[in-house]
Symmetry: C2
Subunit: 281 residues, 2 copies
C-alpha cells in the first residue's frame, strides 16, 4: 500500500506520542518534530506507510536515545491480555464454529495498536468483534486452505496481541512459525514479547529481521525472506503488515481491523470494519 | 500564548486541508507538506500559534498559487449566517438580559472556524451556547466597562461570524471599529466579508494590516497598532486572536469557544468550554 497525504500529519503525531513517552525533555521532542518534518521530502508517496514508519521511529530512537518508549505500556497490555486468556478459551469452547471464533478473537486483539489508537477497551472490543460482520470475508477460503496446508507462517503485529494469536494458533492445530520484529518499534511484538504469550511446542518464534512497524520485505533478513517466499499459507495481522504486504502475490490472509481512514480507503471499507482478506499467491 | 508541541501536527493537518481546497494536484500538496515540515525548525515554541499559522498559510499560497482556498466555503457560510439573522434578533428580543444573549450568540458564531473544526452544526451550536455556563465568566466586568466606554475596538475572527458579531454590536449601542484581516487567511473575515454582514453606520470596518489568522501585532499596520494601544475597550473574538493577544496588558475581553486541547489548557478550561475573559489594561 502506498503512502497517502493524510499519513504525513499522522507520522508527526506518532513521533510526538512516542517522543512524549521516550523523554520529558520538551526541547528534545521539539527537535524530534523538526527532524521528522524535515524528513518528509525524503518520504515519497510511493513508499508504504510501514516503510516510512520505520524511518520515523528510528528518528525517535536517535533523537531521544530511548530504544523502546512503549516498553512499560507493552508490559501492562501483556499482563491484561494474559489475564483474559482463560475467558477467551471459554468463548472458543462454547462457539459453534470454534475456528471462526478464534479468528475473531485474533482480530479483536489487533485493537491493541498504539501507533494508531490511543485508547481502547479490549473487553468491549472482543464483544463487538465476536458478532460483527466481516467487511471482507474470505473465511471459507481460509478454512479450506488451512486444512490443506502443512504449516503456517504467522506475521505478528502488537505485543499483547500475541495472546490473542495464541488462541487462533491453538485452534488451527498446525505447526506455526511466528514472525516478530527484530527490535522494538511502537508496541509491536519482539521475541521477548512472544516468549511471554505462552505458546506451546507447536510454535517456533523467529525474527523477520526488520525494525519497521510492518513486514517491509526489503528490510527483512535473507532467512526470513526465504521462509516468506516458500510459505504456502501466511497469516498477516494488523495494519502495518497489510501496508507492507498488500501488493505481494503470495498466499496471504490479512486479518485486521481498519483503524484509520487511509487503510480503510485502500481496502474499500469503513473505519472500524474487520477484515479477513485473501490474496492468492 | 506560546506554541505547544501538539500544534505542529495540527499545522501540518491545516496545511493539508487548505492544500486540498486550493488544488487537486497531489504532487503540489505533497510539496506543500514537505515544505511545511521543513519549516518547523524555524517555528520556535516561543512564538504564538497565530504567528506560526501566518507562515503556514503563506506557504499554502506560495506553493499552490491559490490566495484564498476557503473562498467558496466562506461565501456559503455567510449566506447561511445571513439567513439566521432574523431568528437571532428574535432570540435577543425575547431574552431577559439581551446583552448577555447577544454575547452568547457572538460566541456561538465563533464555532464557524475551519482552521480547527471541520464540521459544525451552527443551529445546534447556538442552542447549546445560549444555555451553557461560561468556564471563565467576566460578564459583569464586561457590562460595567461597556457602559463607561465611548467606543469599542472589535477584533473579528471568521467571515460568517461577522453576522453574529453584528447582533452583539447592535446590542452594545456604541460606536465600533471592526478590525478584520488584511488579506484572506483560512476563513477569517476580510473587508470584503465584513461588507456583506450588513453593519450599519455605527460600525467602521478597518484592516488590522495582518495576514495572520490572529491579531499578531508585529505583523499589523502602524495605524492599527496606534488604534489598538489607545483603545479603552477591546473585544477579541476567537482562538486566533486569543493566541496572538493573551500576553498583552490592554483592556481586552476575549470571547471564544476553546476548540482545541492546547488553547483549553492555556486557559485552564475544557475543550468545548465557552469563555468571556477580561484582561485589565
Amino acid at each position: 500500500m502506498r503512502t497517502f497525504l493524510e499519513c504525513y500529519p499522522c507520522f508527526l503525531s506518532q513521533a510526538l506520542r512516542a517522543g512524549r513517552l521516550a523523554t520529558n525533555d520538551e526541547v528534545q521532542i521539539k527537535r524530534l518534530l523538526d527532524e521528522v518534518g524535515a524528513m518528509f521530502q525524503t518520504i515519497p508517496l510511493e513508499s508504504s506507510p510501514a516503510q516510512s514508519g520505520r524511518l520515523i521511529y528510528r528518528k525517535v530512537h536517535e533523537v531521544t536515545a530511548n530504544p523502546d518508549p512503549y516498553r512499560q505500556i507493552k508490559q501492562r497490555n501483556m499482563q491484561q491480555a494474559l489475564g483474559l486468556y482463560p475467558e477467551l478459551k471459554k468463548i472458543v469452547a462454547r462457539s459453534e464454529d470454534s475456528l471462526l471464533a478464534a479468528v475473531r478473537i485474533a482480530i479483536a486483539g489487533n485493537v491493541i495498536d498504539l501507533g494508531v489508537n490511543h485508547d481502547f477497551d479490549i473487553e468491549k472490543e472482543i464483544e463487538a468483534v465476536l458478532v460483527k460482520s466481516f467487511a471482507v470475508d474470505d473465511y471459507k477460503a481460509f478454512k479450506d486452505q488451512l486444512q490443506r496446508t502443512r504449516s503456517v507462517l504467522y506475521l505478528a503485529d502488537n505485543a499483547a496481541e500475541c495472546v490473542f494469536d495464541r488462541i487462533l494458533i491453538e485452534e488451527m492445530k498446525k505447526p506455526v512459525t511466528f514472525a516478530v520484529r527484530d527490535r522494538p518499534v511502537i508496541n509491536d511484538a519482539t521475541r521477548e514479547d512472544a516468549a511471554k504469550a505462552g505458546f506451546g511446542d507447536r510454535v517456533t518464534v523467529v525474527s523477520s529481521g526488520t525494525d519497521a512497524p510492518g513486514t517491509v520485505l526489503e528490510t527483512c533478513s535473507r532467512e526470513f525472506k526465504e521462509l516468506f517466499y516458500r510459505s504456502e499459507f501466511i497469516i498477516s495481522k494488523g495494519q502495518g503488515n497489510y501496508e507492507a504486504l498488500s501488493g505481494q502475490h503470495r498466499p496471504i490472509f490479512f486479518m485486521l481491523k481498519a483503524k484509520c481512514a487511509v487503510v480503510a480507503a485502500d481496502l474499500g471499507v469503513a473505519v472500524g470494519d474487520i477484515i479477513l482478506k485473501s490474496i492468492n499467491g
